[in-house]
């Protein structure tokens, strides 16, 4: 462990953020540095293996897990801007036989892996300073972060420090949006019915912005809101907290 007050953190950006929303990665770096961390972005990172694991392909998931473990284990902490990918890494030990060397390595890594917003709030006692945004917003709790990692109060506490930002309660904020990773393309009609209900609940809040901590869920909700012709704009919470609110999801740069 490096000095407790300046940990060397690996940012695991996730395959989805890499491909679809780079600003989340830059916001995460800015936030972690502001919270007193030294940040590295290991260059060989790809995918945590969640699609394979959720599809029952344990061997495929273990293969990508091994790659990711070897890549991330030299750091004091691993921070992931996604509850579901963080949870996947935290649950890596399940993919290996208990007692094996890989199981031990997976367990050690799991203990040092965190979702971004909860890491900032709980482990770095970070409070954003000097960030202002005149807007009304509502927050959706993504399920993996909420139920597997206990992320609920932290994003609200952090967002509460943004001057001018009013958070409106979302009816069913803790109800799944219907994304579910591969679920949304394997069972599109069911997923659509779920996200349609979610989109209506978001519209009913009257908020101008939808915020969340998981890009997959946000893309699902934002895509449905857009298809419905809704004016609600969707942002990853990290971008707002870093004062980097540029174009919303789907808005041309």
């Amino acid at each position: 462990m490096a000095a407790a007050d300046r940990p060397h953190v690996a940012l695991f950006v996730t395959c989805l953020v890499d491909a679809m929303r780079p600003p989340i990665g830059f916001a995460a770096i800015a936030l972690l540095e502001a919270a007193g961390c030294t940040v590295s972005v290991p260059a060989a990172q790809t995918c945590c293996g969640q699609p394979a694991r959720n599809s029952g392909d344990r061997a495929g998931a273990a293969d990508l897990a091994a790659h990711t473990i070897a890549l991330l284990e030299p750091f004091d902490a691993v921070v992931v801007p996604s509850g579901s990918c963080a949870a996947t890494i935290i649950q890596y030990p399940e993919l290996f036989d208990a007692g094996s060397a890989w199981h031990a390595r997976a367990t050690a890594l799991a203990g040092r892996t965190h979702e971004l917003l909860s890491y900032l709030a709980d482990h770095r006692k970070f409070i954003p300073a000097g960030i202002a945004l005149q807007a009304t917003a509502t927050y959706h709790d993504s399920c993996s972060g909420l139920r597997e990692l206990g992320v609920a109060a932290q994003p609200r506490a952090l967002l509460g420090a943004v001057a001018g930002l009013a958070l409106l309660p979302l009816d069913g904020a803790e109800t799944c949006c219907g994304f579910g990773g591969t679920f949304c393309v394997k069972y599109p009609a069911i997923s659509n019915a779920i996200v349609d209900e979610k989109a209506r609940a978001i519209e009913a809040t009257g908020a101008g912005l939808l915020l969340g901590g998981d890009l997959g869920c946000l893309m699902n909700m934002a895509g449905k809101l857009h298809r419905r012709g809704s004016p609600v704009r969707a942002y990853p919470a990290a971008e707002i907290l870093a004062g980097m609110a540029g174009p919303a999801i789907g808005e041309p740069a």
Binding site: V13, D18, A19, M20, R21, P22, I24, G25, F26, V41, A43, Q45, T46, C47, G49, P51, A52, R53, N54, S55, G56, D57, R58, G60, D63, H67, C143, S144, R147, E148, T175, C176, G178, F179, G180, G181, F183, C184, V185, K186, Y187, P188, A189, I190, S191, N192, A193, I194, V195, E197, M219, G223, K224, H226, R227, P247, I249, G250, E251, P252
Partner: protein, 468 residues
């Protein structure tokens, strides 16, 4: 993705009345459960205790079965054992025949549905009268239950009113739920008292007394089991508890989780046949202990599922169940608990969609009063379905390709660099509304256009620029 499940789910999604019916019941159920749990700050402790009571019983199931059997026999009951659904039905039908039964009343039991008892009685030419209001509705409509607590959840009150107007003999008004219940009361009154055999399930089997506990709100269970000459109980072997006191702890959990009440209106413990001096009660009391896959569940990593109290909370909170309802699942048990149990009862090949058609959001586990790790058990089935080659070739192919590329970071970067600009060709004003291979997504929602270069490429470029 088997055509059957997708077709059934599609039909359910296309039925707007079904969604209204599902919402009316499940929203009420969720609200009532939430206030019952909020008024019971001791719930987390109670839940841990409930879980441990069930785990204790399941670990020592042989011991408790033998203790129960001995005590039930001592109370004058006759105990039968059935390994399969067929055996359980055969025993029931044989008992009815031996008693020369013409008419049988039945009080709702999910186990009865699971073993196909309604069908077996019909085959044997025995008249069956369902006495639970919802089961009565289902029987009149010739349908199957769609929920384990509210079998007629898929019907709106308007539809029930029309059904009763057509099928009931009285001329009572049928505008409100109260009037519909009153009409059913009148319709069934004489049948309760005329039946030769009453069949019930069991919520708990009490090992140290040999008693069978049933819970109802309508009072139909006692009216079903008291007047006839025979009372036949069909019960899954996982229903055992060591003593009545253990049952009380589980009742506190079960009732709040099911309907939000603190206790069912009628909580009954039946112990053997009529005794000297009794003026009512059956002269014969039979208990059929049914395995039907339970010992397999215990042996094959699903022991935790045997904790299930059949409270229905996981159904009411499931986003998938709430969209497609119970019939789409195709088995006796729908929702999260059904997706775990059905592959045991119907085989994984026929039901591998059920554990997959789930977002793994975990709300079912969160509300389960005995803390069953439903998502973990569903993952177990997914793993097995994959191993057994039941998942579609297209999925297997794409995941294999993904793994191959993701294992090779340089190739991965190159592929990303190629794919993103191609995707952008389909974008208009920031959004993609249709794109080859993305139909599952874009049929129902738009896809935000990706950036021209991914994060890793942008970051590497920035690092390089900073070093210069």
């Amino acid at each position: 993705m088997s055509a059957d499940f997708t077709a059934r789910a599609g039909a359910a999604l296309a039925d707007p009345t079904l969604k209204i019916a599902i919402d009316r019941t499940t929203i009420t159920a969720r609200t009532k459960r939430a206030s019952a749990i909020a008024a019971w700050p001791e719930f987390p402790l109670a839940r841990a205790l409930g879980r441990d009571i069930k785990d204790h019983v399941i670990a020592h199931l042989d011991h408790y079965l033998l203790e129960f059997e001995a005590n039930a026999i001592a109370s004058g009951a006759r105990v039968h054992w059935a390994e399969t659904a067929q055996q359980a039905c055969d025993i029931t039908v044989a008992l009815c025949r031996a008693a020369d039964a013409r008419s049988v009343t039945r009080s709702k039991s999910m186990l009865g549905e699971e073993i196909g008892l309604p069908h077996a009685l019909a085959q044997a030419g025995i008249e069956r009268v369902e006495t639970d209001l919802a089961e009565h509705i289902i029987q009149l409509a010739g349908e199957r239950p769609s929920h384990i607590i509210w079998p007629a959840l898929h019907k709106t009150r308007e539809q029930v009113g029309e059904l009763f107007a057509r099928e009931h003999h009285g001329a009572l008004p049928l505008d409100t739920a109260e009037q519909m219940m009153a009409s059913a009361r009148r319709e069934l009154r004489e049948k309760f008292l005329a039946a030769d055999v009453g069949i019930s399930g069991a919520n708990f089997l009490i090992a140290d007394t040999g008693a069978v506990c049933t819970v109802t709100n309508e009072g139909n269970a006692e009216l079903t089991t008291t007047p006839p000459r025979l009372h036949i109980v069909t019960a899954g072997i996982e229903k055992l508890v060591p003593s009545t006191a253990h049952a009380m702890s589980l009742l506190r959990l079960l009732v709040r989780s099911a309907t939000g009440a603190e206790l069912t209106q009628y909580t009954s413990f039946h112990r053997g046949p009529r005794r000297p001096g009794d003026t009512d009660g059956p002269t014969e009391f039979h208990i059929i202990l049914v395995d039907n896959g339970r010992t397999r569940m215990r042996a094959e990593g699903l022991a935790e599922m045997l904790r299930c109290l059949r409270c229905g909370a996981c159904l009411n909170h499931c986003v998938v169940f709430r969209q497609i309802g119970g019939h789409a699942y195709g088995g006796t048990y729908p929702g999260p608990m059904g997706a775990v149990i059905t592959p045991i009862l119907d085989g994984l090949a026929a039901s591998h969609d059920l554990p997959n058609a789930c977002t793994l959001n975990g709300q079912c586990q969160e509300v389960c009063p005995v803390a069953i790790p439903l998502p973990t058990l569903l993952r177990g089935w997914r793993d097995r379905s994959w191993r057994e080659g039941l998942e579609p070739a297209s999925l297997r192919g794409s995941l294999a390709l993904w793994r191959f590329v993701a294992r090779r970071p340089a190739l991965y970067r190159a592929a990303t660099a190629l794919a993103l600009p191609m995707m952008r060709l389909f974008a208009r004003r920031g959004w993609i509304s249709a794109m080859p291979l993305a139909g599952g997504w874009t049929r129902h929602r738009d896809l935000p256009a990706p950036p021209a270069r991914g994060f890793m490429a942008q970051y590497a470029a920035r690092q390089k620029a900073a070093r210069r």
